[in-house]
């Protein structure tokens, strides 16, 4: 069974540019989460989808971040315009409905904003 995949693995952009991160969850997992780790600190929750619906986006830092999950399959996280403090590792995780205590993480996208 394929795990959670994320694309790209690395992205280096300039301040003010736009970047879109993609996450493909494990097939059949309705729950999809985005997390971020900045400067080696805690991994922090950004938002949660159940299928195509946003259930909780309380962790999104500001309106420069937009997440979508078209058709309840893969998800994208767009940062527009990117700022220096957006640099970090963005993780995606998925879980089965009813097994939300076990979230499976992707390898992350390392974003560097210069």
């Amino acid at each position: 069974e394929a795990g959670v995949t994320q694309f790209p693995s690395h992205s280096v952009i300039e301040k003010g540019q736009t970047v879109t991160l993609r996450c493909d969850p494990i097939s059949g997992h309705d729950n999809l989460y985005w997390y971020r780790r900045v400067m080696g600190k805690e991994i922090k929750f950004l938002l949660h989808f159940v299928k195509e619906s946003k259930q909780d986006e309380s962790g999104m830092p500001n309106n420069r971040f937009l997440a979508e999950r078209t058709g309840g399959t893969y998800s994208t996280l767009k940062v527009q315009p990117a700022e220096l403090e957006d640099s970090g590792v963005y993780f995606c995780a998925s879980s089965q409905d009813g097994r939300q205590e076990t979230q499976y993480f992707g390898p992350g996208t390392r974003l560097l904003v210069l």
Partner: protein, 112 residues
């Protein structure tokens, strides 16, 4: 809101000895605590969990202990192996989204 703290950023132990990783929390209301292991350039991998109604959970070389009166949990790895070298995160699962609240992690190095 739950806060999860791992006060030791790093720990080194000899192969074959016991590794003890610690975690403190602030909110007594929780369902589960989980431990995740993370290798460089990879995402966190679920290791073991403990529910709020238990004080111990064991899985092979890994045992998690929960001390609710002290709001403290610990992960014991015995015997430690070089392949256990990684960053270990404790995390609480909470909220309507069942999101994870992570500690800052402890880098474990097992010396051969």
């Amino acid at each position: 809101d739950q806060q999860v703290k791992q006060n030791s950023p790093s720990l080194s132990v000899q192969e074959g000895r016991i590794s003890i990783l610690n975690c403190d929390y602030t909110n007594s209301m929780f369902d589960y605590f989980l431990w995740y292991k993370k290798y460089p350039a990879e995402g966190p991998t679920f290791l073991i969990s403990i529910s709020s109604i238990k004080d111990k959970n064991e899985d092979g070389r890994f045992t998690v202990f929960l001390n609710k009166s002290a709001k403290h949990l610990s992960l014991h790895i015995v015997p430690s192996q070089p392949g256990d070298s990684a960053v270990y995160f404790c995390a609480d699962i909470s909220g309507s989204a069942r999101q994870l609240t992570f500690g800052s992690g402890t880098q474990l190095t097992v010396l051969p």
